[in-house]
C-alpha cells in the first residue's frame, strides 16, 4: 500500500527567484505508473528528486504510504531510483552493483545473491553478465543493470529519471514497452520523468504535465489528448503538435483563412464573458480533412461578407458545423503510411500541419482545401491560455 502524495510541495533555489517547483499537489495511487512530463526547466526532475530526498523541500510536504517523509533520509524512504546516466559503480561487477544496497542494509549474502539472480531473471539479463564490470556492457545492458539495482531493493516506489534518453531510437521503443510491462507485473508505484511526450502517452496510467514549476494538468493520456485544459497542454501533447492559430471573433464564429469556423455556444458564452475579440483555435493535424472545396481557384473575399461566406458555407454542403480552410502546400513529409503537409493558409491564416493519406499526397505548391468540424476545434483564451469551455 504505497501511494505518493505531493502536498503543496515547493522548491526555491534562491530567495525571490521563480520557484523550481511551485506548490505541487499530486496524488499518486498505489501501483500507479505516473509520468511527469514537461519541457526543460519545467520542474519535473526537481519534483522527482524531492521525492527521492535528494532535494530539500522549501514548502509543503511529501507523503509515501501515508507517512510524511519530507525530513526522512533518502535511504530510509524505501524507494529506489534509476538515474538518467545509470550511475553504475565502475569498479564493481554487475552482481555487486545490484547487490550494493542490500549489502548496506546488511542483508546476508545468500539472500542477496538470490534477489540479484531473481532480478536478473526478471530483466532477461544473462547470468554470464553478472560477473562483468559495467564498462564491458552495452548501453541497453547497463540500463537493465540500473533497473535491476532498483528492483532488487523491493521498494515501495520506483523513481525513474529519463532512463531511456541515452538509448538509440530503436532500443528506446523496445525498452519502453518492457518497462511498462515490468511495472504492470510487479505492481510497484512508479514515478517516471521524461521530456518525451510519446513516452508519457504510451507508458503512463496517468500523466502529469508540468511547465514552469507548475502542474498544468494531470489525467489519463486519452483525457489529456482529447480535453487539454489549457493551450500549453494542447500544444505539448500529441505529435505532430496541435495547430494553434489566433483567430478574430465574428458573427458566426472565428475567422480563419478567410472562412468562418463555427464555435459551440458554450465557447461563445465563455468568450463573451472574458470580453475577448479574438481567440486561439486548436485543430489537431488529423482533424484537418483534405477535401475538394468546389472551385478551388475562387478565393473567398476578405471580411465575412455575406455572399462569399455563403458560397463557402454552401460548398461546405449540408454541414453547417464545419468550415473549409484553403491554403498552399509548402512542404510534404512522407512517412509511408501518412504524409504530413505543411500548409500556409490563405488570408494570413498562418502555417499549419495536416495529416493526409500517404499514398498520393498533394504536391508542394498545390492549393488545397481542408474541412474541419467545429466539434473537433478547441478554443483557448489568447491571454491566459485557458481553455474556453466547450
Amino acid at each position: 500500500m504505497a501511494g505518493v502524495r505531493y502536498v503543496g510541495a515547493s522548491r526555491l533555489y534562491a530567495k525571490g527567484a521563480k520557484p523550481a517547483v511551485d506548490m505541487l499537489d499530486l496524488d499518486i495511487k498505489d501501483g500507479e505508473f505516473m509520468v511527469l512530463v514537461g519541457p526543460s526547466g519545467s520542474g519535473k526532475t526537481t519534483a522527482l528528486r524531492m521525492l527521492a530526498g535528494l532535494e530539500p523541500l522549501d514548502g509543503g510536504r511529501i507523503e509515501i504510504a501515508g507517512r510524511d517523509v519530507s525530513d526522512v533520509q533518502p535511504k530510509d524512504r524505501d524507494i529506489a531510483m534509476v538515474f538518467q546516466n545509470y550511475a553504475l559503480y565502475p569498479s564493481k561487477t554487475v552482481a555487486e552493483n545490484m547487490g550494493f544496497a542490500l549489502k548496506m542494509q546488511r542483508v546476508p549474502k545468500p539472500e542477496r545473491d538470490r534477489r540479484v539472480h531473481e532480478a536478473a531473471r526478471i530483466l532477461d539479463l544473462d547470468e554470464t553478465l553478472l560477473d562483468r564490470k559495467p564498462k564491458a556492457l552495452s548501453g541497453g545492458q547497463r540500463q537493465r543493470v540500473a533497473m535491476g539495482r532498483a528492483i532488487v531493493r523491493e521498494p515501495k516506489v520506483f523513481l525513474m529519471d529519463e532512463p531511456l534518453s541515452n538509448l538509440d531510437a530503436k532500443l528506446r521503443v523496445q525498452t519502453r514497452s518492457q518497462i511498462a510491462e515490468l511495472q504492470r507485473r510487479l505492481g510497484v508505484t512508479t514515478v517516471y520523468v521524461t521530456h518525451d511526450q510519446v513516452e508519457a502517452m504510451t507508458m503512463g496510467h496517468r500523466v502529469a504535465v508540468l511547465s514552469g514549476g507548475r502542474l498544468q494538468q494531470c489525467a489519463s493520456p486519452r483525457e489529456l489528448y482529447d480535453n487539454p485544459v489549457n493551450q500549453f497542454v494542447a500544444g505539448f501533447i500529441g505529435s505532430p503538435a496541435m495547430n494553434l492559430q489566433t483567430a478574430p471573433l465574428t458573427e458566426g464564429g472565428a475567422r480563419l483563412a478567410g472562412a468562418v469556423v463555427p464555435l459551440a455556444p458554450a465557447v461563445r458564452v465563455a468568450a463573451d464573458r472574458d470580453r475577448l475579440t479574438e481567440i486561439v483555435l486548436g485543430i489537431r493535424p488529423e482533424q484537418m480533412h483534405l477535401t475538394d472545396a468546389g472551385p478551388s481557384d475562387t478565393v473567398p473575399a476578405l471580411g465575412g461578407s455575406a455572399p462569399a461566406a455563403a458560397s463557402v458555407g454552401a460548398s461546405a454542403g449540408a454541414d453547417p458545423g464545419s468550415a473549409v480552410l484553403l491554403g498552399d502546400v509548402v512542404l510534404v513529409e512522407e512517412l509511408g503510411a501518412d504524409a504530413l503537409l505543411h500548409v500556409r493558409l490563405t488570408d494570413g491564416g498562418g502555417s499549419v500541419v495536416a495529416r493526409a493519406e500517404g499514398r498520393k499526397p498533394p504536391a508542394p505548391g498545390q492549393r488545397v482545401a481542408f474541412r474541419v468540424q467545429s466539434a473537433d476545434v478547441l478554443a483557448f483564451n489568447p491571454a491566459t491560455g485557458a481553455r474556453l469551455a466547450g
Binding site: Y89, P90, S91, K92
Partner: protein, 292 residues
C-alpha cells in the same frame, strides 16, 4: 559547348591546390617533428652526458674537449655504492613516510573541499596554496629554532613532517580535482543505497580516483626525494639524504666529476624507475582534471 568545359574546369582547379596543400601539410608536420626531436635531444643531452661520465675514470672525465672514447669502468659506482648506504636509507624512509602522511591527510581534506564542501572552502583552498608562496629560505630560521627546541634536529621524523607539510598543498589540490571528476549521480545513487560517509569514500570514491591518487603520490615522492635545502640545513648525519650525499661529492678543493656523475646517476635511478612504472597512471591522473 560551354557546358562541357564548365563541367571540367571545377574538377581540375581544386586538384592542383589540393596536392600542394597536402605537400605543405606534410612538410609542416616534418618541420615540427624535427624541431621536437632537436628540443628533446637538447634536454636529454646533459643527462646522457652525466650517465656516460659516470662510467669514466676520473682522469678521462675532466678533459676539454670532452672525450667520447674511453674505457668504461665501474670504479666510480663502486665508490658511490660504498658511501651511499645510510643516505639512501634515510631518503627512502623520509620519502615514503612523508608521502604516506600526505595521503592520509590530503584525502579527507580534499573530500571536505570537493564532495561535501565545508563553509569556507574557497578560503581554505587559498590558504593552502598561499603556504607555497613563502620562500623556504625565509622560513628556515624559525624552522631551525623550532626543531632545536623540539629536539628534532637531525632526525628523520623532522624530515617526514616537513616534507609532508611541503607536499600537502599540492596533494590537496590534485586530489580535490580528481574528486570533482566523480559523477554526482554516482554519489547520489550511493546515498540512496544507504552508504554512509565512510562507505561512500571507500567503495565509491576511492576506486574512481585511484589513478589520481597514484599520480599524486608519485609527484610527492619525486619532490621529497629531490629536496635539498631543508635536509642540508636541518640534518647532519643521522638523517642526511641522497641530495646531501651528492653535495658531499663536490668538495672544496678539486673536482671529482666522474664520482659526482656516478652519484647523481644512482640518485636518479629510483625516481626514474618509479616514474617509468607508473607513467601511464601519471599521464592519466594528471590529465584527468583537464578533460571533462
Amino acid at each position: 559547348m560551354t557546358a562541357i568545359t564548365a563541367a571540367d574546369a571545377p574538377t581540375q582547379a581544386p586538384a592542383a591546390p589540393r596536392r600542394s596543400r597536402r605537400a605543405r601539410e606534410i612538410s609542416g608536420q616534418a618541420g615540427w617533428a624535427v624541431l621536437g626531436w632537436v628540443v628533446g635531444i637538447a634536454f636529454f643531452l646533459p643527462i646522457l652526458w652525466m650517465v656516460i661520465t659516470a662510467f669514466k675514470p676520473e682522469s678521462a672525465a675532466e678533459t676539454w674537449p670532452p672525450q667520447f672514447t674511453f674505457s668504461p669502468t665501474l670504479s666510480q659506482f663502486r665508490l658511490v655504492w660504498d658511501g651511499m648506504g645510510p643516505f639512501i636509507e634515510h631518503s627512502a624512509i623520509a620519502t615514503v613516510g612523508s608521502t604516506i602522511l600526505v595521503l592520509v591527510l590530503a584525502l579527507p581534506a580534499a573530500y571536505a573541499l570537493s564532495i561535501r564542501p565545508v563553509g569556507k572552502w574557497r578560503d581554505s583552498l587559498f590558504f593552502f596554496i598561499s603556504t607555497k608562496m613563502l620562500p623556504v629560505v625565509a622560513a628556515i630560521g624559525p624552522l631551525y629554532v623550532i626543531a632545536l627546541k623540539a629536539h628534532l634536529l637531525d632526525s628523520l621524523w623532522l624530515l617526514i613532517i616537513l616534507y609532508a607539510a611541503m607536499n600537502l598543498p599540492l596533494a590537496i589540490w590534485m586530489i580535490r580535482s580528481f574528486m570533482l571528476e566523480v559523477p554526482t549521480e554516482m554519489l547520489e545513487a550511493a546515498r540512496l543505497d544507504g552508504a554512509g560517509r565512510f562507505r561512500e569514500i571507500t567503495e565509491v570514491i576511492m576506486p574512481v580516483v585511484s589513478p589520481g591518487l597514484v599520480s599524486t603520490a608519485l609527484i610527492c615522492v619525486i619532490f621529497a626525494w629531490n629536496e635539498l635545502f631543508l635536509a642540508l640545513n636541518l640534518t647532519v648525519t643521522n638523517a642526511s639524504t641522497m641530495p646531501m650525499f651528492l653535495i658531499s661529492s663536490v668538495p672544496q678543493e678539486g673536482l671529482y666529476i666522474a664520482h659526482l656523475s656516478a652519484a647523481a646517476t644512482v640518485a636518479s635511478v629510483p625516481v626514474i624507475i618509479v616514474g617509468w612504472i607508473a607513467q601511464r597512471s601519471l599521464v592519466r591522473g594528471l590529465s584527468m582534471g583537464a578533460i571533462k
